[in-house]
């Protein structure tokens, strides 16, 4: 099975297994009350929902690329961004190793 294609993670069963807790936390943010609790006390929320220190740290550092590498699914990870008011472009650019500004500049150049 393909694990990566053209520089992007293919969300395999192996990745899904590795990222299960992270994705489950992201899924919990489909509930508005959970979003509120997460934003009010990030560290407490992440601990309460069972993330380990490494996973919680990825979230706290907004390390989107790291979250994908740890098994985060892009459709779930953007729920974390959404709760924090961070747009998809910023997340995507980060996974590509760029800042949002770099990404937008690169697109303008096309």
């Amino acid at each position: 099975m393909l694990d990566e294609i053209s520089g992007a993670a293919v969300f395999t069963g192996e990745r899904s297994r590795a990222g299960y807790r992270l994705n489950r936390m992201a899924m919990s943010l489909t509930d508005p009350a959970n979003r509120e609790a997460f934003v009010a006390d990030e560290t407490g929320y992440l601990r309460g929902i069972g993330l380990n220190d490494v996973e919680a740290d990825l979230v706290r550092r907004r390390d989107w690329k790291g979250m994908i590498e740890a098994g985060g699914n892009i459709y779930l990870i953007i729920k974390i961004a959404g709760a924090l008011g961070i747009a998809l472009y910023e997340v995507g650019a980060h996974t590509a190793g760029m800042s949002l500004e770099q990404f937008m500049a690169q697109r303008k150049g096309r």
Binding site: A9, S16, G92
Partner: protein, 276 residues
């Protein structure tokens, strides 16, 4: 007996909905796309459809990886909108037709397709984003949502989805009531939401796909997931959701409408066909 009277392929995207809700269809960035939906909507209304079968994919909203179904068939009276993590749009629940859903379940299982049957089911932008462009949002026509796993690999093969469309046709034609059914396939077109190629679209591939889907679809069922993901991006694998729509129509089709526009990070496509 039921009859399949039309097929529509459409992209879906979270970006669509809010643009539509704000009435920005004439915004220069979006008009080339939204304009394409106008004649297709008029044609669809003229078909006087009784039911929509919508092949789509969920994005971690109704389903999670605790138990992710490969195929899931809605069999509910109503399909509320899922909160995807940023609140809901102001849209009523979509209406269902559980009688037809259970007929479809029996017919599919007879045909050796075994979907998870959902008597409670919310639908996300996979359904809700483009449907307001094609029908009144009081949802006069009931729907049967059919979710395909295209986000957690292994995902079903393109050929499996092609055969699924043929099975839809047998199910519709074996229904005792004289209903007029339109089949939808939604996803893609090319897009890549993460990795070094983030933001990638390929209008050439998207248009080739639209050409081939209309005139010679069967070989598209023979393409591998690698083919789809290399040419259309990892998330572009959603394009296989269009295959059941096309297969359900039978070999010969007439094109009613086609639009393509790629203003952001997704190739948006619309294709409306009817059996010739």
């Amino acid at each position: 007996m039921g009859r399949i009277v039309g097929g529509i392929g459409s992209s879906h995207a979270p970006s669509f909905g809010p643009v539509y809700d704000k009435g920005q269809q004439k915004d220069p960035m979006w008009a080339p796309l939204f304009d394409g939906y106008v004649p297709v909507r008029a044609w669809l209304e003229g078909l006087r459809p009784d039911l929509f079968i919508i092949v789509y994919n969920d994005h971690g909203n109704q389903f999670f990886f605790d138990a992710y179904p490969t195929f899931a068939l809605g069999a509910s009276e109503a399909y509320p909108q899922a909160d995807e993590g940023w609140g809901k749009r102001d849209l009523p629940d979509m209406r269902g037709d559980p009688d037809f859903s259970w007929h479809l379940a029996r017919s599919l299982v007879e045909d050796e397709f075994d979907p998870t049957i959902c008597q409670e089911m919310s639908v996300d932008h996979g359904v809700m984003s483009f449907m307001p462009m094609l029908t009144d949002t009081r949802w006069p026509v009931p729907i049967v949502p059919f979710a395909v796993n295209v986000i957690q690999h292994p995902v079903p093969k393109a050929r499996r989805l092609y055969k699924l469309g043929q099975a839809f046709r047998r199910a519709v034609e074996s229904y005792p009531k004289d209903i007029r059914v339109v089949v939808f396939g939604t996803g893609g077109l090319s897009h890549q939401l993460q990795g070094t190629r983030f933001g990638f679209t390929d209008p050439n591939w998207d248009n080739e796909f639209l050409d081939r889907l209309e005139t010679d679809p069967e070989p598209l069922a023979g393409l591998s997931h690698r083919d789809y993901m290399e040419r259309g991006g990892t998330e572009g694998i959603e394009m296989i959701n269009w295959l059941p729509m096309r297969a359900a129509l039978g070999p010969a089709v007439r094109r009613i409408g086609r639009t393509y526009h790629a203003p952001m990070i997704t190739g948006y496509g619309l294709l409306a066909l009817e059996p010739a």
